[in-house]
Amino acid sequence: MEHIITPKVEYVKLLNTYPEKKSALGTLYLTATHLIYVEQTNNNARTETWVLHHHILSVEKLPLTASGCPLLIRCKTFQLLHLLFQRERDCQDVFQSLLRLSQPVKEEELYAFLYNPHQNEEDRRQGWEFISVANDFSRMGLSNEYWEISHLNKNYEICSTYPSILGLPKNASVAVVTGSAKFRSRGRLPVLSYYHKDTKAALCRCSQPLSGLTSRCVEDEQMLQAISQANSNCPFIYVVDTRPKLNAMANRAAGKGYENEDNYSNIRFQFQGIENIHIMRNSLQKLLEVCSMKSPSMSDYLTGLENSGWLRHIKSVMDAGVFLAKAVCDERVSVLVHCSDGWDRTAQVCSLACILLDPYYRTIKGLMVLIEKEWISFGHKFSHRCGHLDTDPKEVSPVFTQFLECVWQLSEQFPCVFEFNERYLIEIHNQVYACQYGNFIGNCQKERLDMRLHEKTFSLWPYLLKNQHLYRNPLYRRSLESTVLRPSTLPLHFKFWCGMYNHYDRGMHPKQSVLDQLLSLTQKQVEGERTMTELQRQLAVADGVLPDPSGPINTPAEQDSPSEKTPTAPVVQSNGSCAPLINGDAEEAGPGAEKCNEKEGADPGATEHDLTSSEDKPVSVETEHSKEEVHESS
């Protein structure tokens, strides 16, 4: 609080992006965590704009104008606030405060360390354990004949930026593992990212080798040999360097570089040409300039879009992801991926390939697992890349944003294969920068452990799960889930993501939302099904087919869902007798049936909504949450 000079300023104008629209007049408040703008409208209605200090990217004082003193606030969420103060003094005070508040110096200043979502210690513990990378390994079928889960890095001694558990080929000895780690930049040795059960091909990741111009390392060569041998389908592996060839060559001079095909008997080497973090940062900067142009012509916009290079970069990431997925799935070849340090481009393309290959990662929970696995645990430097603290601005880069966008681009080509909608991706993006939860604080697992984040902060995932009804894709079809995605990567299939980069320019978005429409319909459908089951039961009772179990027959179904209570005999019976009336469709037969024999295959969406009666949302959602955990531990 000591940084807030003026907590409240009145008569501040919020200028509209569209010059023709009227600007708002209101009061600006600064709290320890937020900037709040309260607009006074004529009819006493209040509209509030809340901006988290952590979301503020930059604050800029513009030259004084006749109408006042302007302040431009740019946010990491791509929101743009253009404020106009009456008094220069106020503007200066707010400017000073925001400069300090938006750039915390120490980790402890981050919001997550004061935020408590009303959970006790047990909730907190469960929340952190909810997503487990180890479980994902078991899901892939590890350990097996070829791969094992190794604890060699449990003290982070082999590689400080890797997770404590690693997937390694079974026939790689400890000497080979440690030797290989020494030959890789920052010790990031080749380890398993994803194991494709059907083809036995593996996706592996690492950092660049310290090959320089001539160096070689027998252990590293053996390590790649071991990865190759773990896939009996193919005598070689692809080694994919995601960098442009020129960049990789430049690294050789510095004692790093890329694999020499002559030294590794069993590899096919390939460059992919994704640019580095600095180019990506500048590209986003240019893209955002295009987004914030005032009344641009179509030509300005398209030329700006082209010159930003943004979609070119998105395409390069997608191309690489598609290459990996094709190799693993169609060619049945294992792939080893790296860039320089193996925590930016490598994370992007490995996680994208996982989404293309495995439908699990296209679910709400699966995406959490994927982010936890490929990004958080493998040491994508969220603190640096997102600029959580006032550190080197050259470390900041929208690497993770690009990954989310690639997922969005896929969802545009495949509208039925993702369990989540666009809002889920945007919410995750906002949360990454918000630092309200601890997940994205720190640069690697070891750092997080040292910060004791699991004790001091809460995990984001339970919160997202609690609100998952907002993030559902109503068009999601589980039946399509077994398909491997083969997107077209022709340039014309990449679109500008207005929902993300112009998110706050509501005027640009469609005025009616198909998504909202369908979400409310699916909600109505659940209610309708429940009502129907109840009516059928009442009808059966009134008909005398069923004995009257619960008194008066006109109990309103909406308020008292039978499935919530312990399923008494008559309820079960009624479901049994009623189900055939409903088209004989067991999947949609209604809530009771599902509750009685809680089978895995049942649509969790329907179950969740069944539990959610209109009155008591939070409670029932909690129930849903704990149910998920039951699945997890079983």
Binding site: M298, N502, D505, L521, L539, A542
Partner: protein, 549 residues
């Protein structure tokens, strides 16, 4: 018959058809007077029936004795036919060339087409001017139907019946007509019931270099203004273009002579430029290069999206003048048959909920395009693949459809129809078995006796079996004025037309089906719930619980 001499080889066996994203088909190629047919004679594969009129251009290639004909269609599809035998291939190619470029309208397919369905409602009679005038009469008595153009002598491109201000007699209309390009004097286009404001359309006034004026023309448009109110003249051309027009006898309304009107100039492109824009856009969409920069710069250079933005912006302006400013509007460009109609028809879609129903939209096209004299025959003679020197071809109507699609995308629940209707109209405007889009104006259609000799598109579309395909499952009628965003970020490339043949639509079709399923299932569910409620209520009113059979 005449066609036989154009068809040297009527059939060839062993022809292989290649289409993007579809399996190849081997079969027999047949040429008839109006169709290119490829049939595998197996039930499993679909036959290809292509109207010669749909063929925009062809290319031949030879490798040894195997010939290949690339057929590029007006609906933007490109197919490839591998034909064994040099002579056969040459014959087929020259026949296609000849049959697809027939000059005589009366040889076109609509004159030979006999519907396989029973015509229940004759589309030629579905939208008659008298009917829409009745609607107008129910709202206002300020207007009358004039027969001054009964024999099309006053204005050849106007229909015989025109809605004009009640106080203006036919004699004045004649004088006003002589002052407007092509005789297209100001007539009513749309009456805004909410505030009694009107939109009129015309062609440019013939002021010439010496500033000619016409009292009757001034009186005519002033008659639509309320006392003390000002109106807006929207000239779809830039001021520079309008100035240049003076040298050729055209021009624009001088402030001095029209003191009650404010003139606004916009910059909607004209025919040749638009045709060029379409050709460039389609070329860009068919480019298989993987360079993102190349795609974006080609898209930009085509100017197609700019044209969409400019047309929509002008339509919004017209709608704004009427609805927000409470002023009457007169729209014109040069001839009043192209950009003028884009603006007046789009403004109506924005303002009038009736135009967003299927019937209303058909009526709008009938009124503002067909009756209003948009020269379809000339504009749609060739499409994006044409090699020939363009004459008067221009994708004016396609741009209008694109703009409608943009509004539909932004207001997905406000239209009774879906994208399929727009795509279908695009196809039929360029090549059709129906006579609706033949001819350039009402007079020409009369001479061709289209209503007697051909079937109307509307006779087919309005059959319940067909309509279903065009219904928007999300439609919820609303009476609002719908203001689209014209920000570049809000205007997308119309993939349904321009990427239609360049992508697999499987996933998008699945999504659409799923959406329909959700909506249908919900309706069904609500019906079942209601019927159960009724049953229960009935049972409760009866004293003793009786078994129902």
């Amino acid at each position: 018959m005449e066609f036989a001499e154009l068809i040297k080889t009527p059939r060839v066996d062993g022809v292989v058809l290649h289409r993007p994203f579809m399996p190849t088909v081997e079969g027999t190629l047949c040429l008839t007077g109006h169709h290119l047919i490829l049939s595998s004679r197996q039930d499993t594969t679909e036959e290809l029936w292509l109207l010669h009129a749909n063929i925009d251009s062809t290319e031949k290639r030879f490798v040894g004795s195997l010939g290949t004909i690339i057929v590029k269609c007006k609906d933007l599809r490109v197919i490839q036919l591998d034909i064994p035998g040099m002579e056969e291939c040459l014959n087929i190619a020259s026949s296609i060339e000849a049959l697809s470029t027939l000059d005589s309208v009366s040889l076109m397919y609509p004159f030979f087409y006999r519907p396989l369905f029973e015509v229940i409602e004759d589309g030629w009679q579905s939208f008659v001017p008298e009917e829409s005038f009745k609607d107008l009469e129910s709202m206002t008595d300020e207007w009358r139907l004039s027969e001054v153009n009964k024999d099309f002598s006053l204005c050849p491109s106007y229909p015989s019946l025109l809605t004009v201000p009640k106080d203006i007699d036919d004699e004045s209309l004649c004088k006003a007509a002589s002052f407007r390009h092509g005789g297209r004097f100001p007539v009513l286009s749309y009456y805004h019931k909410k505030n009694a404001m009107v939109m009129m359309r015309a062609a440019q006034p013939l002021t010439g270099t010496n500033g000619r004026r016409c009292k009757e023309d001034e009186k005519l448009i002033n008659a639509t203004l309320c006392a003390g109110k000002r109106g807006y003249i929207i000239d779809t051309r830039t001021i520079a273009v309008a100035q240049q027009a003076k040298a050729r006898g055209g021009g624009f309304e001088q402030e001095a002579n029209y003191p009650q009107w404010r003139r606004i100039h916009k910059a909607i492109e004209r025919s040749n430029v638009l045709q060029d824009s379409l050709i460039k856009l389609v070329e860009a969409c068919n480019d298989q290069s993987h360079s993102m920069d190349r795609w974006l710069s080609k898209l930009e250079a085509s100017n197609w999206q700019s044209n969409v933005k400019e047309i929509l912006t002008t339509a919004c302006l017209a709608a704004q003048c009427i609805d927000r400013e409470g002023a009457s509007v007169l729209v014109h460009g040069t001839e009043g048959t192209d950009s003028t109609l884009q603006v007046t028809s789009l403004a109506q879609i924005i303002l009038d909920p009736a135009c967003r129903t299927i019937r209303g939209f058909e009526a709008l096209i009938e009124r503002e395009w067909l009756q209003a004299g948009h020269p379809f025959q000339q504009r749609c003679a060739q499409s994006a693949y044409s090699n020939g020197k363009p004459r008067s071809e221009a994708p004016v109507f396609l741009l209008f459809l694109d703009c409608v699609w943009q509004i539909l995308r932004q207001f997905p629940c406000s239209f009774q129809f879906n994208e399929n209707l727009l795509i279908m109209l695009f196809e039929h405007a360029y090549a059709s078995q129906f006579g609706t889009f033949l001819g350039n104006c009402v007079a020409e259609r009369g001479k061709l006796q289209l209503s007697q000799k051909t079937v109307s598109l509307w006779s087919w579309v309005n059959r319940p079996q067909e309509l279903e395909r065009f219904l928007n499952p999300l439609y919820e009628p609303n009476n609002l004025v719908i203001w689209p965003s014209v920000a570049p970020q809000s205007l997308l490339l119309w993939e349904g037309v321009f990427l239609r043949w360049n992508r697999s639509t499987k996933c998008l079709d699945e999504a659409y089906q799923e959406m329909v399923h959700i909506i249908e299932y919900n309706k069904e569910l609500q019906n079942k719930v209601n019927s159960l409620r009724r049953q229960l209520a009935q049972l409760e009113t009866e004293d003793s619980p009786l078994q129902t059979p």
